[in-house]
Amino acid sequence: MKAFLLFVLLSGLFFSCVKDNFEPVDQTDNKATDVFFDSKFDWASTNNVEVNIAGIPGGPSIVTKLEFKTLEGQKLFEGFFYVNENITLNLVTLPTTNKLVMQFGQLTDTLSVSNGKASFSFVEPEN
């Protein structure tokens, strides 16, 4: 009886140490109702890009049109803004949008989108 119990115990230890040979299941083949999604995911199909424009500190109060478009020319925003003010905008874009075309008065510039942010400054950084 003791030998049998010992056999059962050792067998249990042995099998508990055997590595599972299951291949990971590709959940992407499953139906949407079969899998767990991340609790923080909000299912948004668009991105929000925070655009920061640094104006000229103490500069003149010149107001002019500010416009943002995608590289494909789709208009995202337009308004009338002072060039001496700091401006923050939150633009809705496609997740694949990684460049924004800014037109501020006569100035045209292409801003790169990185980690949901894009920025521009009238003042060049000091060397």
Binding site: A32, D38, S39, G59, E124
Partner: protein
């Protein structure tokens, strides 16, 4: 006597105000240590800089390099200014040191659009190291000045500070930097028919002072879609076609970027259910009293109680009902489960509802409460669309993690398959975190009746499992994305 005295005083104040206005001037004290700030403001520095070594006033002045050449000047070029009448430009200047062995001079040249070579206004020879208060006369018109310093015999430098220009700043900062800036267009050449301060050439509505710009959500000439499941708080069949609406919002803004009007185009494209559902949207951050009038919607069943201005009563944030019974908008063809969700059933052509929300009329804002468009969109969840199910106002279905309105019946939240938890900001998700509604940045080719979305859109699960990082274009008509046999043909 007192009356006469006050009348005189009032007249004097008005006179002072007007004379101050007509004699505009701009003072530059160079109190920003960064030369690049001035270069961005259209100043040009050649062998000159901003220095704190020996400022004339404040902490900083313009400082030249050593004045050791009579041929190669140190130069400061100002931006453009404009004065309607002849005036004076004053400034303070000094040398870092003075010796009679040397000779240092400053020349001031006036440049006007009609005289690009410029004309000399002043040649001043420094006679000591003391500060000299100098001035030059300026004719009416647009101008800039060139300060040139020359010297020989010593290595002393010169300083400049407290320059007061006649007129107003007139450089177009957006046209370039430093010396490459152009002047703003002359005022008399700028056409502004509605006199709202926005020139005709950039004013989308040049004849209307209340509106100048148009901002579209999601973008110009683009319709977004939302597909809803309507069995909340129970799970549905996940075909996301119980209600499918396309929408485009046009935010018309004025010269101050305040919203004057919202024109919402809403197209009810499909009803994959038998419930008499309604559709509405809330704009987070806008108070209902900001609105003057709502029009163009179809609310006839007294499900939403409205304020006099057409917004929903009893809501903290502006809530606009679009329709309160989907079958009023899209007529059932007489066969099939719903409308436009089964390919073999008759197609019903959708109508477009054009809902207008007016915030500003004849220069006056509703409730005196202007709303800046940029402030509205600062909240990434500002647009909060929802359906209310089968005539029950409190049974709302929103996008995942969008909060319900004040009219939601809290008894539904967290019940059935719903795991909403307001304390965590979690709304409208199942235990497995599936939503009850999906929003797409294009018109949704929704699944056929009772086809689960992942059978129609083959990369939907991959997109969801990657939290949106992979297959971001899962909804687009691209190779490998769709099983077209399970998607309702787009008509």
């Amino acid at each position: 006597m007192k009356n006469k005295y006050f009348r005189f005083l009032a007249s004097a104040i008005i006179l002072i105000m007007f004379s101050a206005e007509s004699k505009s001037e701009v003072k530059e004290s160079f109190e920003n240590k960064s030369r690049n700030v001035y270069i961005a403001g259209c100043w040009q520095f050649i062998s000159t800089n901003i220095s704190s070594t020996s400022p004339i006033e404040g902490k900083y002045s313009v400082n030249t390099s050593a004045l050791s050449s009579l041929n190669k000047p140190c130069t400061l070029v100002t931006p453009w200014y404009h004065t309607d009448e002849a005036g004076v430009v004053t400034f303070k200047t000094k040398l870092s040191n003075y010796s009679s062995k040397g000779s240092q001079i400053v020349e001031v040249t006036l440049v006007q659009p009609q005289n690009a070579t410029g004309s000399n206004l002043l040649t001043y020879t420094y006679k000591s190291a003391a500060v000299a208060d100098l001035s030059v006369n300026i004719p009416a018109g647009t101008y800039y000045l060139i300060f040139n310093w020359y010297g020989e015999g010593t290595n002393y430098s010169a300083y400049l500070d407290e320059v007061v220009f006649a007129g107003e700043y007139f450089s177009d900062i957006t046209s370039g930097k430093g010396g490459s800036c152009s002047a703003l267009p002359e005022k008399e050449t700028v056409k502004d028919d509605d006199k709202d301060g926005v020139p005709n050439d950039v004013d989308a509505f040049p004849a209307s002072p209340d509106v100048s710009f148009v901002n579209y959500y999601p973008a110009g000439n683009v319709f977004s879609s939302i597909g809803f499941e309507d069995l909340w708080p129970s799970k549905g069949d996940y075909d996301f076609n119980d209600i499918v609406v396309d929408f485009n919002l046009a935010f018309l803004t004025d010269k101050d970027n305040n919203i004057s009007r919202i024109d919402a185009k809403v197209v009810l494209r499909a009803v994959g259910a038998s419930f008499r559902n309604g559709f509405a949207f809330q704009l987070m951050g806008i108070k209902p009293e900001s609105v003057i009038e709502v029009s163009g919607n179809h609310l006839v069943h007294d499900i939403m109680k409205l304020n006099a201005n057409g917004t929903e009563a009893g809501e903290k944030w502006l809530t606009v009902g679009v329709f309160d019974n989907c079958f009023d908008i899209l007529k059932h063809p007489g066969v099939g489960i719903g409308i436009n969700t089964e390919p073999d059933k008759p197609f019903v052509t959708p109508d477009t509802l054009e809902v207008s929300v007016v915030f500003k009329q004849n220069g006056v804002f509703g409730g005196g409460l202007p709303v800046k468009y940029s402030d509205l969109i600062a909240n990434s969840k500002f647009f909060n669309p929802f359906i209310f199910v089968n005539g029950v106002r409190g049974k709302e279905v929103h996008l995942a993690d969008n909060a319900p309105t004040d009219h939601v019946d809290p008894a539904f939240l967290g019940k059935g398959d719903d795991t909403s938890n307001p304390a965590l900001g979690r709304y409208y998700k199942t235990e497995k975190n599936l939503p009850w509604a999906l929003s797409l940045p294009q018109s949704f080719d929704y699944p056929i009746e009772r086809v689960i979305i992942s059978d129609a859109y083959l990369n939907f699960v991959s997109w969801g499992l990657s939290k949106g990082a992979k297959n971001q274009d899962w909804f687009m008509d691209k190779a490998g994305n769709r099983n077209t046999n399970k998607i309702m043909p787009h008509k």
